[in-house]
């Protein structure tokens, strides 16, 4: 709450929250898909302003958390090679692979750079023709147009020493996966505003219809989030399930069509493994055949990656239902969402993370059912 009381729109926010309280007659579970929104909700104490029955469920929309360990290990292996400049956004530096992270690779002499834009990595390739320059491109639909442009320009300009280590994930298939998982409790979604600024929201009406869920396109600022929650609750309370745009100062129905055109030219849909969740069909993009030459996974053919989850970790047993997360000796000690040892703690949708995040506050029987609902996903 610290931030919200200091927030200059605190009074408007409190009025919004009062209206949500007034209209809520039943408990509802609303998921914000995007990690950026989760961040804003927690940082501003928005969840604490809501009626006790309104549960905000944090979605799998943190691209860093859902990047498979195997890809992180590939990044580390490529970055450690001589003759390579490995470029990334700053937030991948401390993400742990099986052995170490990119920051440590740099400490051991690897040429790891942080860039603001993938085009900066492309310029590094132009200036260093004797080096192989790789850009580590993870992210959702928001980030994909930037990565698409970097390879498009590389091909157009004939920059042969540039490649992408790319793993894009997509929001709509994740919503499908959540809604069709047994034991799902999510009843409405806040769709991520910046993903929609690229993709529009034409993909959502079929989902809202099929699953009977309100989907509200929502921004990131505290008032945006309260507005999105407000609209979702109003739909739930009146039995509607429509797609609403609460972020129309940035998002249009069709989205950014120039970006979508280049995305279609460069990428193709592929199945993706989401760390902590598993494979979701057709949930990602990879470079298509025309651009495969710029795929770092093809170029470097890193073999012999043996991803090793921590020996302390019992996530296999947790996923099989053999033990409850809290029965794992590392739970809450060596292992927490900030320092996850296993896949089920990495994503906030994983059973261990769900127990960790919510379980401490619940009596034993509720704890058991919360865990079941979460681990089903």
């Amino acid at each position: 709450m610290k931030y919200l009381t200091e927030f200059r729109n605190g009074e408007i926010a409190r009025a919004q929250a009062r209206e949500i309280h007034a209209m809520t007659t039943r408990p509802w579970k609303i998921m914000e898909v995007c990690g950026g929104q989760t961040h804003s909700i927690i940082r501003n104490g928005i969840d604490q302003m809501l009626p006790a029955g309104i549960g905000m469920v944090h979605g799998p929309g943190c691209p860093v958390c859902v990047t498979p360990l195997e890809l992180i290990d590939k990044a580390l292996a490529i970055a450690a090679q001589p003759g390579v400049i490995f470029c990334s956004f700053g937030d991948m530096l401390r993400v742990p692979g099986t052995e170490g992270d990119l920051f440590q690779v740099k400490g051991r002499g690897g040429d790891v750079r942080v860039v603001y834009s993938p085009l900066d990595a492309l310029e590094l390739a132009v200036r260093n023709p004797d080096k192989q320059v790789i850009f580590f491109g993870v992210g959702f639909e928001t980030t994909a147009p930037a990565n698409a442009m970097s390879v498009h320009q590389a091909r157009r300009r004939g920059i042969g020493n540039f490649s992408l280590l790319v793993s894009h994930v997509l929001v709509p298939p994740a919503i499908e996966a959540i809604m069709s998982s047994p034991g799902n409790e999510v009843q409405a979604f806040l769709a991520a505003g910046h993903v929609c600024s690229v993709m529009g929201y034409w993909q959502y009406p079929p989902l809202a219809g099929k699953y009977g869920i309100p989907i509200v396109v929502t921004g990131f600022e505290p008032l945006d989030l309260l507005d999105g929650i407000h609209r979702a609750v109003r739909q739930l309370e009146t039995g509607r399930h429509e797609v609403e745009n609460a972020y129309d100062r940035v998002v249009t129905y069709r989205g950014n069509e120039a970006a979508q055109r280049l995305l279609a030219e460069v990428f193709e849909v592929t199945d993706r493994a989401w760390r902590g969740i598993g494979v979701i069909p057709k949930s990602g993009w990879r470079l298509n055949a025309d651009y495969r030459d710029f795929d770092a996974e093809d170029r470097f053919q890193i073999a012999g990656i043996h991803t090793q989850e921590s020996p302390l970790c019992r996530s296999g047993d947790v996923l099989r239902g053999a033990i409850k997360p809290a029965q794992c000796p590392a739970f809450g000690k060596e292992c927490s969402p900030r320092h996850p040892l296993g896949a089920t703690m990495v994503s906030s949708e994983g059973a261990c993370a769900a127990y960790y995040n919510y379980g401490r506050f619940l009596p034993a029987e509720e704890l058991a059912s919360a865990g079941k609902a979460m681990s089903a996903f």
Binding site: Y3, F7, R8, G35, G36, T38, H39, S40, I42, H58, G61, C62, P63, V64, C65, F89, G90, D91, M92, L93, R94, V95, P96, D101, F103, V114, Y116, S117, P118, L119, D120, V138, F140, T142, T143, P145, A146, M149, Q153, R157, A192, H194, V195, S197, E221, P222, R249, V250, V251, N256, A258, A259, R275, P337, R338, H339, P340, V346, S348, N357
Partner: protein, 104 residues
């Protein structure tokens, strides 16, 4: 990682065949690709993600958002240069949730 921040387009150039601009984010100026917003002109405000303008936004919303993001401390994070990023990494623990959005 999915945050996009508003800024004002101060200059437009064609760098090779791609349209680039100088965009001012409340004082910090960066080079930004404008290929996806062909309608943007000097003086307009745009929403920028990892060096790419992805949508136009009106001035009032842009100013408000910039102010909000500054208050929330996300502006510095988004615009951090390479040195700053490594400095942050040096003092950060290994974590799969670098932005802290996973609740503790």
């Amino acid at each position: 990682m999915c945050l996009a921040i508003p800024g004002k387009v101060e200059a437009i150039s064609t760098d090779g065949a791609i349209r680039m601009g100088r965009v001012n984010f409340g004082g910090v100026v960066k080079s930004v690709c404008l290929e996806y917003v062909p309608e943007i002109e000097v003086g307009d405000y745009t929403i920028v993600h990892v060096g790419f303008a992805i949508a136009r936004i009106d001035e009032e919303s842009a100013q408000k958002t910039l102010e909000d993001f500054r208050q929330l401390g996300v502006l510095d994070e988004e615009l951090a240069g390479e040195e700053e990023a490594f400095r942050r990494a040096a003092s950060a623990p290994q974590s799969s949730c670098p932005d802290g959005s996973c609740p503790r």
